[in-house]
């Protein structure tokens, strides 16, 4: 018979999702500053990007250092359509997702590459995309697009930052849940097979090329959705917002959080977005410290936060089991 402590420590009871959601929902009680909301909004938006990359990189093993391309596609589509052509916000966002998905499907053939070459190819494409967008007149060139309308449906716009916080939080949770469910079915199994061994996957009857296109398109769609929300949240975008630094930060979220874990992606997004902001006390040194932190963290814990968490709970669990066994023996 399991002891009570053991029961308490089984996955169900320490489900980090429930506690994490509860904590996130209660945070606005403790912090009300404008600074907190700005960082929190950015962190939640980043969590969407990180989740989308987790699907592509963590679940199907396609490393992308160009995810900002898809974010940019979503942000620019909805910004131009809603501001310059006066379309409703939700139409702009939907079209942004569509454009993002089709760009994802277009560059999917690049998935013939693997590992390092894929990383560099996507990185180079991202650099290209930024330069090209900065030179297109009707995308407002290098100066970017100001005065993008806020989120909302028809007359009902989200004005309060608290409201926006909860909207973004629920979006993150819904996306995480949807992606989690998707991966449980045939599609996700095929992706996991791709990550494991492509040749074996192909010999099991999985059309690797087709699934890569699907994975790229779905991941790009989610990232573009995040990008569209970003555009309406911050109301000003320019090409440099989506430079390779953003792509690198997105992959940093996934890896620091833990490759293959949805919760890890969200935690990684919070760490990578929040840490540099809260290091502002150190001013000039903040990015230096952040850079060194990333390097040292990964040199000593290449598995990320998720694997640290897993190891820690296992350790506590086994310590407690041996404790209870000893007490029973006495």
């Amino acid at each position: 018979m399991k002891s009570r402590l053991q029961l308490l420590l089984t996955q169900h009871h320490v489900n980090p999702w429930i506690w994490g959601t509860l904590l996130a929902a209660l945070l606005p009680l403790m912090f009300q500053s404008g600074f907190f909301y700005r960082v929190a909004h950015l962190a939640l938006l980043s969590a969407i990007y990180a989740l989308s990359l987790q699907l592509l990189f963590g679940k199907s093993g396609q490393i992308s250092l160009g995810h900002a391309i898809f974010v940019m596609a979503g942000a620019y589509t909805t910004a131009v359509l809603t501001r310059d052509y006066g379309l409703p916000v939700f139409v702009g966002i939907s079209l942004g997702v569509l454009v993002g998905a089709s760009i994802g499907a277009t560059i999917a053939p690049i998935g013939r590459l693997r590992g390092g070459p894929l990383a560099i190819a996507t990185l180079a494409l991202n650099a290209a995309a930024v330069v090209v967008v900065a030179n297109i007149e009707w995308l407002h060139g290098p100066l970017g697009i100001p005065a993008i309308p806020p989120l909302g449906i028809a007359e009902l716009t989200i004005e309060s930052r608290l409201m926006l916080y909860y909207v973004l939080l629920s979006v993150v949770l819904i996306i995480a849940w949807c992606l989690h469910r998707t991966v449980r079915f045939r599609f996700g199994r095929a992706l996991l097979a791709l990550r494991g061994n492509e040749t074996v996957a192909a010999s099991c009857g999985i059309s690797t090329a087709r699934f890569k296109v699907k994975a790229f398109a779905l991941s790009a769609a989610v990232a573009a959705f995040g990008g569209a929300l970003f555009a309406h949240t911050v109301s000003y975008i320019n090409p440099r917002t989506f430079s390779i630094e953003l792509s690198i930060m997105i992959i940093a979220m996934v890896i620091i959080g833990g490759v293959g874990s949805w919760g890890g992606a969200v935690i990684g997004a919070v760490i990578v977005t929040g840490a540099p902001e809260y290091l502002r006390i150190a001013d000039d040194y903040r990015l230096l410290i952040f850079g060194i932190f990333i390097a040292v963290f990964l040199i000593f814990a290449p598995g990320g936060v998720a694997s640290m968490f897993r190891k820690a709970t296992q350790r506590v669990y086994s310590a407690l089991t041996s404790l209870s066994r000893e007490s029973r023996n006495e």
Binding site: G115, A121, A128, I251, V259, D284, L288, G291
Partner: protein, 291 residues
């Protein structure tokens, strides 16, 4: 016509600097499998240290280049010892390795701002001024010097890679790490040598181009073009990477002249993007499984 040839040569000069950085990057990938995103920052380090030395000591430029190369080699060895080796030992995956190099890159860039300040610094005149006439075409003497130095370095690197014992060991390690180790190749040593060579090429390239582009902490952007060059030429091919650098240099110089200087970067990157979408492995690369 004379114009065209002149611009092609100018393109080759810039391109050969790209080629140095790109070849160094590709050497590291070939031999260690590491995508070193801190690589472009070594270009910046080379440019700034070269500037400080030349201003402080008035040493001849050739000596400065050698000093900067030695610095790059030192950086490479340190990088292998303190970043790559601990990660290989912990069986870090590719993504984590790439990201650790990003951390180093951020630290280097911000560290450079703290040490040197963010303003660009101009070199004293180090290149011979004026033109050289070759077959009736006027070429900047500066371009000739850059092309000569770059090609000498690239040929030396190629020869080392092809004929020396350590070069053969490096190629063996790049084909199959475990098999090479079983044959008595010390892979930590081949890693160190290839990182040293790669960063050495990058720092020298930095000191070579800084008199044109100024020495400044954000010179790593120049290295970004070198990534594009490597992707264009083929990531697992050192020759391809060098070729990609030269193609990129020519494309942007010609595009800048015949279309518009504003579109210089657009043309360089579009060339690369088109090649990548048609032939993802790059011009001379192969689709390899295990990098």
């Amino acid at each position: 016509m004379g114009d065209l040839v002149g611009f092609v040569v100018a393109g080759i000069a810039i391109g050969s600097a790209y080629a140095l950085v790109a070849a160094g990057f590709a050497i590291v990938i070939r031999a260690t499998g590491l995508i070193n995103l801190a690589h472009p920052e070594f270009v910046m380090v080379g440019a700034l240290v070269g500037h400080t030395t030349i201003v402080a000591t008035k040493a001849p430029y050739a000596l400065v280049l050698i000093l900067v190369a030695l610095l790059g080699i030192g950086c490479g060895v340190a990088f292998e010892r303190f970043v790559l080796r601990p990660m290989v030992r912990r069986r870090a995956r590719l993504g984590a390795m790439i990201l650790a190099t990003v951390g180093v890159a951020i630290a280097l860039r911000k560290g450079a701002v703290l040490v040197w300040g963010a303003d660009p610094r101009a070199y004293p005149a180090v290149y011979p001024s004026g033109f050289v006439e070759v077959l009736g075409v006027r070429i900047l003497a500066r371009d000739v010097v850059i092309i000569l130095i770059a090609s000498a370095l690239l040929l030396t690197a190629g020869a080392v890679f092809k004929w020396t014992r350590i070069g053969i060991a490096m190629r063996a390690a790049s084909q199959d790490r475990d098999a090479a180790r079983l044959m008595g190749v010390r892979t930590t040593r081949t890693d160190a040598v290839s990182l040293a060579a790669g960063s050495g090429l990058a720092t020298v390239a930095g000191a070579l181009i800084a008199p044109i582009f100024f020495a400044r902490p954000d010179l790593g952007i120049f290295g970004l073009k070198a990534f594009a060059a490597t992707a264009l030429g083929g990531l697992d091919s050192v020759v391809g990477a060098a070729l990609g650098g030269i193609v990129l240099g020519i494309a942007e110089t010609l595009g800048g002249f015949y279309i518009s200087t504003a579109f210089k970067d657009v043309i360089a990157y579009l060339t690369m993007a088109v090649v990548l979408l048609i032939r993802p492995q790059g011009l001379l690369g192969t689709v390899r499984r295990n990098i």
